[in-house]
């Protein structure tokens, strides 16, 4: 591991001032000399592997602002401070009651120990576990732009079928983010150029020609909160995760679903897919296919076909297309059968 300077800022403004740099907007946070650390479950691992090589770490756990550690729930919003730990949010009874998809996406992620460590802000920014990204002897356009992609013709069973490019097919492995993108969450971001609110759907960037640029964040910006509006569909929401083993594994396919129903008929549906895409994946085509329909198995199947219409498999991951469709069909029918 590369040696690094370790510092403990005591406020958000101090942290972003310490990370501030003139070229920050052109430098992805993952490539910056100075990086933030909270739970460290992703960053420490990637520093050990030489994938991440910061010269300086700013420890966010010493920030004083209480709101960073609070979950605030009122009649129409759930607001998570960015330093709330995954386990705390997963166990919050009001989060579960008001929006089950959020609670389940956290409960079925990682392990008890990791959930106690990992912050929500860090969780949504976790980097792919593509085997060729993790092992620095392989070419990887995400880790080393322009070096090529070893996964294309390599062992690509874990890789994405949606949102891929000729440069990168790495899967976004998070779970919480699928629920957030389905539920139209927003993120609050602070930086030296001010505070901004961003639709969660705009936080992650598809790989395109620049897979090294993973998010909309500048190197000196910090997520301070994640907010989800509570709507008619929030309580009728679900997160279904299908894995190689029943627990403690990344999704092969997952679906976050929230339904606004008028009797048997779908007033509107919100759908996101995980394990199959390069970014938290909102399946708008599937949502449109369901609108105004009676939600039976045939309608769910039609929506699933629409969700994967543009899927592009590689040699070992074609199974994710039928698996992803079945996962979505089951998630839709189970969500339909929940009490609204």
């Amino acid at each position: 591991m590369r040696p690094f300077v370790y510092e403990r800022p005591t406020s958000v403004s101090a942290a972003i001032a310490m990370a501030s740099r003139v070229d920050a907007v052109r430098v992805p946070p993952t490539g910056a000399d100075t990086q933030f650390i909270a739970g460290g479950t992703n960053l420490a691992d990637y520093m050990k592997l030489g994938v991440a090589q910061p010269d300086r770490l700013l420890d966010l756990n010493t920030l004083a602002e209480p709101a960073l550690r609070q979950i605030r729930i009122n009649d129409d919003t759930i607001r998570f401070g960015a330093l709330v730990r995954m386990g705390e949010a997963a166990d919050n009874v009001d989060v579960r009651r008001r929006c089950p998809a959020l609670a389940d996406s956290l409960k079925f992620a990682a392990s008890g120990q990791l959930r106690n460590m990992a912050s929500l802000g860090g969780n949504v920014l976790q980097r792919t576990r593509c085997e060729y990204f993790r092992e620095i002897s392989w070419p990887c356009n995400k880790r080393e732009p322009g070096s090529g992609c070893a996964a294309m013709e390599g062992s690509n069973r874990q890789h994405a079928v949606l949102g891929t490019s000729d440069a990168c097919i790495a899967t976004y492995h998070g779970d919480f983010a699928q629920a957030l993108v389905a539920l139209d969450a927003t993120v609050e971001i602070e930086g030296p150029r001010g505070r901004r609110t961003l639709a969660f759907a705009k936080l992650h960037k598809r790989p395109g020609d620049t897979p090294d640029i993973e998010t909309d964040l500048a190197a000196d910006e910090l997520i301070t909160a994640i907010e989800v509006r509570l709507e008619r569909w929030s309580s009728r929401s679900r997160y279904l995760k299908i894995r190689d083993r029943e627990s403690y594994a990344f999704a092969l396919a997952s679906a976050a679903v929230a339904l606004d129903m008028d009797g048997e008929t779908v007033r509107s549906a919100r759908i996101a897919l995980g394990g199959v895409a390069t970014v938290p994946w909102r399946a708008r085509e599937a949502e449109d296919a369901l609108q105004g329909k009676v939600l039976d198995e045939a309608a769910a199947q039609e929506a699933a076909e629409a969700a994967f219409a543009d899927a592009r498999p590689r040699e070992h991951n074609a199974f994710k297309i039928p698996l992803g469709k079945r996962t979505l069909v089951r998630a839709l029918l189970e969500t339909r059968d929940m009490k609204g």
């Binding site: 300077v5 370790y6 510092e7 479950t41 300086r56 756990n61 392990s111 008890g112 990791l114 627990s247």
Partner: protein, 205 residues
């Protein structure tokens, strides 16, 4: 690695040796650290040692560590508490589980320097001073909940966290919430049985 001379005149190696034998009484060494430095001092260098003070099994330890040192390596190599095991060293196996401020975490993914002022509990800190085992330790013995034993300290620490969190209500819950601790010998049925026994005993107490 060359021994970095510390300002006290101790070599790095001597300091580490001393910190093992006399850790509890060790005064905070005046080492070149960023965390303890006044603002006027020279900027920190990546290879500077950092001072970190932790309570480990109810004793205070003042250590001077390279920032790269994981909590796991600090416990094993600097403090001499080798009960906590290194399995994968990447947060995938759970062998290194300890409690920080009562919560179970993976010590391999925690930089030691990030634990300033924290209360760490390792498997060595569970039994009472007269040797009576913690209910979870006793249950693992009673149910033969291991074969080779390498994952056992992590399993025990994780089980304590799992019970304290209220996630040991059913055998299904135990399997779900203990899934971060892998056992290559597959002693899982006995581990679940041990946790059921310990849970009931802790509830009665």
């Amino acid at each position: 690695m060359p021994d970095a001379k510390m300002s006290s005149g101790l070599s790095r190696r001597m300091f580490m040796t001393a910190s093992v034998s006399a850790a509890a009484a060790m005064p905070l060494v005046n080492s070149p650290t960023r965390a303890a430095q006044p603002a006027s001092a020279k900027p920190a260098e990546p290879r500077d040692l950092s001072a970190v003070s932790m309570r480990i099994n109810k004793q205070t330890y003042n250590l001077a560590l390279d920032n790269r040192t994981s909590l796991l390596d600090a416990l094993r190599d600097h403090v001499g508490l080798t009960g906590t095991k290194k399995g994968c060293d990447h947060g995938q196996c759970g062998a290194c589980t300890v409690l920080i401020d009562g919560k179970r975490v993976l010590s391999c993914l925690s930089f030691a320097v990030m634990n300033q002022g924290r209360e760490i509990t390792t498997v060595e800190g569970l039994a009472s001073t007269d040797g009576e085992l913690h209910p979870v330790q006793q249950a693992f013995v009673d149910h033969d909940a291991f074969q080779c034993g390498y994952c056992t300290p992590g399993q025990i620490m994780s089980a304590i966290g799992c019970i304290n969190e209220g996630h040991a209500g059913s055998e299904d819950d135990i399997r779900e919430y203990m899934s971060g601790n892998l056992c290559r010998c597959a002693a899982y049925p006995n581990i679940v049985a041990a946790i059921v026994q310990a849970r009931d005993e802790i509830r009665r107490a």
